[in-house]
Amino acid sequence: MDAAFVERLRKIAGRRHVLSEAADLYGYESDASIDRSLPGAVVFPGSADEVAAIVAACNERGYPFVARGAGTGLSGGAVAESSALIIATARLRRILEIDPDNRLAVVEPGVPNAEIGAAARAYGLQYIPDPSSMAVCTIGGNIAENSGGLHCLAYGVTANHVLGVEVVTADGDTVRLGGRVADAPGYDLLGLFVGSEGTLGIVTKAVVRLTPLFETSRTMLAVYDSIEQASRAVSDIVAAGIIPGALEMMDRLTTIAVEESVHAGFPTDAAAILIIEVDGLIEGVEETSAAVRRACERGGAREVRTARTEEERDRIWRGRKEAFGAIGRLSPACYVQDGVVPRTRLPEMLREIADVSNRHGLRIANVFHAGDGNIHPLILFDSNQPAEVERAVVAGDEILAACVRRGGSISGEHGIGTEKRDCMTLQFGPADLALMARVKAVFNGRDLCNPLKMFPTSRRCGEGARKLASGKLSPAMSAAVGPAF
């Protein structure tokens, strides 16, 4: 990035808020995915006006730019290809307003997800979407990726909890999409914007919906001797008319790893466990958890435990949240996939993952949002063995293709970014992608705003991941990635 442009950025954001030395830029060359690329510079604007001025300057000079929150993204959405400028939202982290009677909060994009919840709690309210990285990941990043979380089964993902955004568009204009009040006339640009992976503009302010806190929550653990039974129980519970707040599944490889590091009290001899959380009014939770227990037992659960204390409940959830990190320690490297199948197809999908594992001679651990059919197979491999890297990538592709064949999706919550852009053609045909391209051109015709993301390049699915994994994956990386899932 040329000195004159860096100087211009310093004038806009302040001398201390621009990084341009290579040594300072390495910390910003990747997010939590396997992709990496050194940015041209990093700027930390202190206001929406500064964001607009920076974007206008980029437009004038034809520099690409990429917004970045906490860098916890799992698909390369915040990776600055083409030596792009990173516009980091770290200084935009004020909660501007909590309006309890209208059940909303107005926040800046750099506010961590969990801080919104903490501020709302004082009013008996909560912010529902809860990605596992919620302690650090920012609301701006959540909006870009349409983040999910453990409790999205019953209450929806980020798109269902964002009422409005103020955005600096790719051209540098400041616009408002949606707002505090419903039924804005015109097209639902907000609906389009949430989940657009930073390719349509940069959020500078967001109005989010708050929800009353539940009176109580109950966490249960159902233990199975076969993966088949556990995965069948997922649709049995839902078919019984119950939508739990959360419904998670872990296989034996995962529970063993978790027990070695966290001691959550998971049975390590069971083929699979389900973690089920039911929330609501005390009396209703009694009834619903009894119905969940019946459904699990009918489906062959060996044991159904209920967390009796808050401490026990925390331990179960800690075990779930730290599962990825624990698995990371089992192997020199691991490659996480994120796909979705209709939940009734989970049993066959898990059989297929077992087949893929056997075929490629690779261990695959499963820990995932079973209620949503959102699988997260973790493929364990040795990054020092090129042939094994190749097999891991092929195995990942095969799993994604199998999800699409079953009417599912190539990403439930991690996004497309750079990692999966060449897999988009598995799920979408030329006409579907052309519609998306037409929409993108309306907002980001010059492709300066988070360029090259989400849309397929000329490579085929998996090639990008293969190239990166063979050269760049390190044992440290899988451990570093762990806690973010």
Binding site: V181, A182, I243, G280, G284, V341, G373, A431, V439, M454
Partner: protein
């Protein structure tokens, strides 16, 4: 340009002969009194796309129509060339109860869908009005939701993916058929609330919910709408998670059988819909009763559980629905912050005394219905309402009004108009779909 006969033949082939040309036959599809020259009834999204392309290539225009419940929604067109009647493109494509998803063709009637889902103990959690004939495609195009939005979100929140047809012959899919997906842009959301101005909604995948094990309904009579609106806001802030709270003036209350009419025409009735396990419903009813009493409710009445469904079917039709037939009533919908609902109703009572008012205060929404009769409608006063609210956060739209009445009333658009125009141009470059019908002349 091709000659008229071969154009007609091509259109006829595109819809497999389901084309009306006789003015008498076309009259039933009139849009605000304008009879179309042609009515075409495609049976699939592919047929719809072929038809749209033929019409676009001739430089003509097209109005997409479901059940016609928004035919009098301003701004109304001055002339209509062709109507694309989507009611033949109907039926459930796929429903897997264990997945809680259903894929339907756009012309499927809401009532048909609900009855098919109910056989599996499920429902689309949307109490949109005109339930007996509204189509899913029409509900999506008009973004029509009901009061259950409080608990389940609106129709937009329950839509997962869509197949759409554009005027260049494109048929494209976006979103997914599973409950969670972040692959690609959710371009389908642009069509929700687009009033048919971007393209044709052909098919949609929707999220469904289990029917409640038990239903409950509490009616609370209030002297003042302010107290009732306050109670609705308190309910929405509480951890009772009631399904909805609908507020009715005296005249609107009279239209609900099985609910005792309020003694004074000036009284207001707040109807609280509850649902869940039996014990949950008991708690919701008890908790709601306490909240209403604390806000000064004069009288409380609980409907028998078995009657809740039929009562609510009537209640849903009172919010801009079949209780106020579109030819006979001017209907407007106003949206503001929940805490400003009472003030909005105050303004309506002054500006439009003939209107029957139904509100969903916890959502910040109010509907006003008045007979199409000059004497019930004072344009100057309503203009004053518009302008008195203009500087606050609010949105407003006529859902049904004769052209003479709605002319001159415009609602400020807060959305970035240039982006909206560019989007319209990108997706419908020849302006084939319903020209002039969208917000601000989109």
């Amino acid at each position: 340009m091709i000659d008229a006969t071969s154009f007609a033949t091509s259109l006829q082939q595109a819809v497999d002969g389901r084309m009306l040309v006789h003015p008498r036959a076309c009259e039933a599809y009139a849009i605000a009194g304008c009879t179309p020259k042609l009515v075409l009834s495609p049976a699939s999204v592919e047929e719809a796309s072929r038809t749209a392309q033929l019409i676009a290539d001739e430089g003509e225009s097209l109005v997409v129509r479901g059940a016609g419940t928004k035919s009098w929604r301003p701004p109304v067109p001055e002339a209509v060339f062709a109507v694309l009647d989507m009611t033949r493109c109907e039926g459930i494509v796929a429903h897997e109860p264990g997945d809680l998803t259903v894929t339907v063709r756009a012309g499927t009637k809401l009532a048909h869908l609900q009855s098919a889902l109910s056989r599996h103990g499920q429902f689309l959690p949307c109490d949109a009005p005109f339930a007996s004939h509204a189509t899913i495609g029409g509900m999506l195009a008009a973004a029509t939701s009901g009061s259950l939005t409080l608990r389940f979100g609106g129709i937009r929140d329950n839509t997962l993916g869509m197949r759409v047809a554009l005027s260049d012959g494109t048929v494209a899919y976006s979103g997914s058929k599973v409950v969670k997906s972040v692959a690609g842009y959710d371009a389908y959301k642009l069509f929700i609330g687009s009033l048919g101005t971007l393209g044709v909604i052909g098919e949609a995948t929707l999220k469904v919910a289990p029917l409640a094990a038990e239903d409950g309904l509490l009616a609370a009579r209030f002297r003042s709408h302010r107290d009732a609106a306050g109670a609705a806001i308190d309910l929405a802030r509480s951890n009772l998670f009631v399904w909805s709270a609908s507020l009715h003036d005296g005249a609107s209350t009279k239209r609900i059988d099985a609910i005792p009419a309020v003694a004074s025409p000036n009284d207001w009735l707040l109807l609280v819909r509850c649902g869940g396990s039996p014990a949950t419903v008991r708690r919701q009813i008890g908790g709601s009763a306490r909240i209403c009493k604390a806000r000064g409710a004069l009288e409380l009445f609980e409907a028998p559980a078995r009657e809740v469904g039929s009562i609510w079917a009537q209640v849903a039709e009172l919010a801009g629905g079949a209780a106020y037939p579109v030819r006979d009533f001017v209907v407007a919908k106003f949206s503001t912050l929940p805490t400003a609902s009472a003030e909005l109703i105050d303004a309506l009572l002054v500006a439009w005394p003939a209107a029957e008012i139904v509100a969903h205060p916890a959502l910040g929404v109010a509907f006003a219905h008045a007979p199409v009769d000059r004497s019930s409608f004072d344009a100057a006063r309503l203009s004053a309402l518009w302008s008195s609210l203009k500087h606050r956060e609010f949105n407003a739209a006529f859902l049904s009004a004769p052209p003479g009445i709605s002319r001159g009333f415009t609602v400020p658009i807060t959305a970035p108009i240039e982006l909206q125009r560019r989007l319209k141009h990108a997706l419908d470059p020849r302006g084939t779909f319903d020209p002039g019908r969208g917000a601000a002349g989109l």
